[in-house]
Every structure is written in structure tokens, then in C-alpha cells.
């Protein structure tokens, strides 16, 4: 008799748990989907994301903070940074005329950003980097400047 009672109780509690489960899934219908419809919409990239490096520009003049000290070029273990510059008459410091980044060999180690003493280099938050041609990864950072926050 006790076994029979247990059997009946199992049927009732079992059926109840099924109903609870179905209620849980039903409640999800009006909830907004968490999916981001990627190519059409995207989320802002997080602050600590490491994209390719980019030059920080002076807020007022819009010129790069870089003084062509070459620390980043020396620090780079894979020789992917090439900087050239000159010092115009009367200028307070040297200004870069060329700042090339070979992104095909860059491993995003960050030694260049660490070595920069003039607040001139940072990681960008650019992550849409797919391309079919190798040339797209020879980046002229003087041209690319500006903060791209995707």
C-alpha cells in the first residue's frame, strides 16, 4: 500500500515538475532576444581590447603626440614598426613623417605601447580586420589616426 502511495505521488510530482518546466520556457517568449544581429548591428568593443596600435593625437592641435624617439621601433620583437621623422625649425620636438605598422607580423604583444614615454601609442578597438589582400595590413598609422571605437 505504501509503495502504491509512493507510485501515485511520483506521478503527481513528476507531472507537476513537467508543468513547471513548460512555464519556465513559456516565460522566455516576450523577453527580448540577446542576439546581436552582427553585420547590421554591433556592440561597442571593450576598453581593454587589443586591436592594432594607433597614434594618440593631441586634443587641441590634432597632431600626433609622437616625438620620434624610436623606443617603439627598438622594443618591437618582430620588427613591424618603422618610424621616420624630422625636426622643423622652431618646433619643440621632432614630428613623424612616416609611421608604418606591418600588421602581418605583429603579435599584439604591447611592448611598443609599454615603451612609449610620451603617451603617443595605444591599442585601437578596431576588430573588423578581415581582408583578402596582404597589402591592407601594411598600415600607415599617420593616415589611420583618430579613435575608431567600434
Amino acid at each position: 500500500m505504501r509503495a502504491f502511495g509512493k507510485y501515485l505521488k511520483e506521478i503527481v510530482t513528476g507531472s507537476w515538475s513537467l508543468l513547471v518546466g513548460m512555464w519556465i520556457t513559456l516565460r522566455q517568449i516576450p523577453v527580448r532576444p540577446v542576439t546581436v544581429n552582427y553585420p547590421y548591428e554591433s556592440l561597442p568593443m571593450t576598453n581593454r581590447f587589443r586591436g592594432h596600435v594607433e597614434l594618440i593625437r593631441n586634443d587641441e592641435t590634432g597632431e600626433p603626440n609622437c616625438v620620434v624617439c624610436m623606443a617603439c621601433q627598438k622594443a618591437c620583437p618582430s620588427n613591424c614598426i618603422r618610424v621616420e621623422g624630422h625636426k622643423p625649425e622652431g618646433a619643440p620636438h621632432r614630428i613623424p613623417t612616416l609611421f608604418m605598422l606591418d600588421f602581418t607580423t605583429c603579435s599584439l604583444c604591447g611592448l611598443c605601447v609599454e615603451s612609449c614615454k610620451f603617451n603617443a601609442l595605444e591599442f585601437s578597438r578596431e576588430y573588423n580586420q578581415a581582408s583578402l589582400s596582404k597589402e591592407d595590413y601594411q598600415m600607415d598609422l599617420l593616415q589611420r589616426g583618430g579613435k575608431e571605437t567600434h
Partner: protein
């Protein structure tokens, strides 16, 4: 007389075309509903790319399946391998013949309609068994063994429930069963507590058995993609797989139709107003919604759990229901 003959032939052709189209349309758009509904339950979006709201997705899927090569694996039993998809889709479509969609719409008013549906429904098992056996694949063979064990286990409570219901209605004719339930929702068989207090339980048992008979999750141990790849359908490619897929959804539609006709008053309105095809379709798609809802709520049962549920719970309960109904029919 030739005029009548012509009319009869025209009626026949129209119903054949109509039913096949109805089956195929439902298979296509229930698969879309399945994907959309699963997305709603999981806070996703589901198909949105093809057409507005993804409405053309089934067309794209169908074209993809049509474009694929039909492969026959080496060592397969070629005749049975090619026969199985046909044998699985034909009975599914045949079952639609006797279903009365409304007072006037129904291909064939057959006095043994209910019996016919379950006879043809049984072929489904045979076809899956053939597919699994003919594929010459270990997964498919295991699946073939499972489908037989599962369907034998679940046909017993299903037919016991039907038997008890027929004792109340005194007819196998689906149209007459619906007509008996006219009035309001309190006239529906599911609420005929005076015929047997277990009638609502019988409806639940019917739904469970129907899910198992159509091999839907959580009873889809025949397909069980995580254990058996796709079970009996592993070796099928292109449209021969597509036929199994269509048959699954047509079987869901047939099972839902029968559930509505037997327990939920067919084309009758819940409040006794304007009975007709629209009520049948509303109930049909609500039922299909619930079937998909169950699939995306519960995980797949184990094989032991599946058989235990049938032999230890459903069969005793449906037997009790049968006995109670018999006693009450005899007394009143």
C-alpha cells in the same frame, strides 16, 4: 451519369492535390515555426535573413535539399533503402484522407476512419525499421531496434485510450465523433467526466503517446543526434532525407488532428458560435505549437526511462481508464 462520374473524378484529383499540398505546406512551415519557436524559448532570433521575418526560409531549405545528390551507401540493400522514404511518406499522407477538417471539407467520410488512421500509422514504424536496416550502418541498426521497441510500447496505451473513447462515442467515424461534441467546450470529450473521471488524464496520455509515436523530442531516441548521429536517417541524403523530414511533420499534423477530433471538439467552437474550418485550424496550430513547446522544454529521455514510463505508468493508467469507462458505460 457521366456528369456525376466527372464530378467524382474532379473531386478525387482536387482532394489528392489539396491534401499533398496541405501536408507539404505544413511540413515546410512547421519546420520554420519550430526554428522560430525554439529561438523564442532560447532568447534568440531564429531565421531572419531569407525573406521578411525569414518567411522564405523553408523554400531555401527545400531547394538546398533538392539540389543534393542522392547517395546510396556501399553494402546497402538498394531496393529497401529507396523504398523506405516512400513507405514513410505515403501512410502519413493517407491518414489525412479521412480527417474531417470541417462539416463539409473532408476527402472521405469513412465509417472506420479512426481504425484506418492507426493501421496506416503503424506502417510508419515499419518504414523506419526498413530505413535503419537497409542503411547497413551500426547507428541505423540500433535506431531500427529502438523504434520498434518504442512504438510497441506506446501503441498499447494509445489504443487503450482510443478503445475507451470509442466505448463512449459508439463510432469509429471521425465526423460523427466531432458532431457528438457540438455545443460548447463543456461538451468536448476531454471534459466528459461523467463518462469517465479520468478523461483529462486520458487526453494527457494521448498527447504523450502521440509524441512518442511521431518520434518527437523528448522521445526522439530514434534520431538521437547526440548518440546515433541521426539514427535511421544517417545515410540518407538530399530529398530522400527530406521525405523523412516531411513525414515527421505530417505525422505531427495527423496526430494533432486526431487529438483535436477525439478530445477537443474538432471544428466545433468553444462557445457554440460559428463552427467551421477556422476553429479547426486555430486548434490545430495551437496544438502544433504545444508539441514544439514540449520539444524545446524537455531533454531527451533515456531509453530505459522511455520504456519505464510506458510500461509502468501509461499502460496501468490507461487500463484503469478503460475499466472505469466500461463500468460507467454499463451502469448508465
Amino acid at each position: 451519369m457521366p456528369h456525376d462520374l466527372f464530378r467524382e473524378i474532379a473531386r478525387l484529383v482536387l482532394y489528392v492535390v489539396g491534401l499533398v499540398a496541405f501536408g507539404a505546406f505544413n511540413a515546410a512551415y512547421l519546420s520554420l515555426l519550430e526554428r522560430k519557436e525554439s529561438a523564442w524559448f532560447q532568447r534568440r532570433r531564429g531565421p531572419v535573413e531569407v525573406g521578411p521575418f525569414g518567411l522564405l526560409q523553408p523554400v531555401a531549405d527545400g531547394l538546398k535539399l533538392l539540389g543534393k545528390q542522392l547517395l546510396v551507401p556501399r553494402g546497402a540493400d538498394v531496393l529497401l533503402f529507396k523504398l523506405a522514404p516512400v513507405a514513410v511518406i505515403t501512410p502519413a499522407i493517407m491518414c489525412l484522407v479521412v480527417i474531417p477538417f470541417s462539416e463539409t471539407i473532408g476527402a472521405r467520410d469513412f465509417s472506420l476512419g479512426l481504425l484506418m488512421i492507426y493501421s496506416f500509422g503503424a506502417i510508419n514504424v515499419l518504414a523506419t525499421l526498413l530505413a535503419g536496416w537497409a542503411s547497413n550502418n551500426k547507428y541505423s541498426s540500433i535506431s531500427a531496434a529502438r523504434v520498434v521497441a518504442q512504438n510497441i510500447a506506446y501503441e498499447i496505451p494509445l489504443l487503450l485510450i482510443i478503445l475507451a473513447l470509442v466505448m463512449v462515442t459508439h463510432t469509429f467515424n471521425l465526423r460523427e465523433i466531432v458532431e457528438l461534441q457540438s455545443g460548447g467546450f463543456w461538451q468536448w470529450n476531454i471534459f466528459q467526466i461523467s463518462a469517465s473521471p479520468l478523461m483529462p488524464v486520458a487526453f494527457v496520455i494521448y498527447v504523450i503517446c502521440m509524441l512518442a509515436e511521431t518520434n518527437r523530442a523528448p522521445f526522439d531516441i530514434v534520431e538521437a543526434e547526440s548518440e546515433l548521429i541521426a539514427g535511421a536517417f544517417t545515410e540518407y541524403a538530399g530529398m530522400s532525407f527530406g521525405l523523412f523530414f516531411i513525414a515527421e511533420y505530417v505525422n505531427v499534423v495527423v496526430g494533432s488532428c486526431i487529438g483535436i477530433i477525439l478530445f477537443l471538439g474538432g471544428w466545433q467552437c468553444p462557445f457554440g458560435l460559428l463552427p467551421g474550418l477556422h476553429w479547426f485550424l486555430v486548434k490545430l496550430y495551437l496544438f502544433c505549437f504545444a508539441v514544439i513547446w514540449v520539444r524545446w522544454t524537455f531533454p531527451r529521455t533515456q531509453f530505459y526511462g522511455l520504456l519505464n514510463l510506458s510500461w509502468k505508468i501509461l499502460i496501468p493508467l490507461s487500463l484503469v481508464h478503460l475499466v472505469v469507462t466500461a463500468i460507467l458505460v454499463k451502469l448508465f
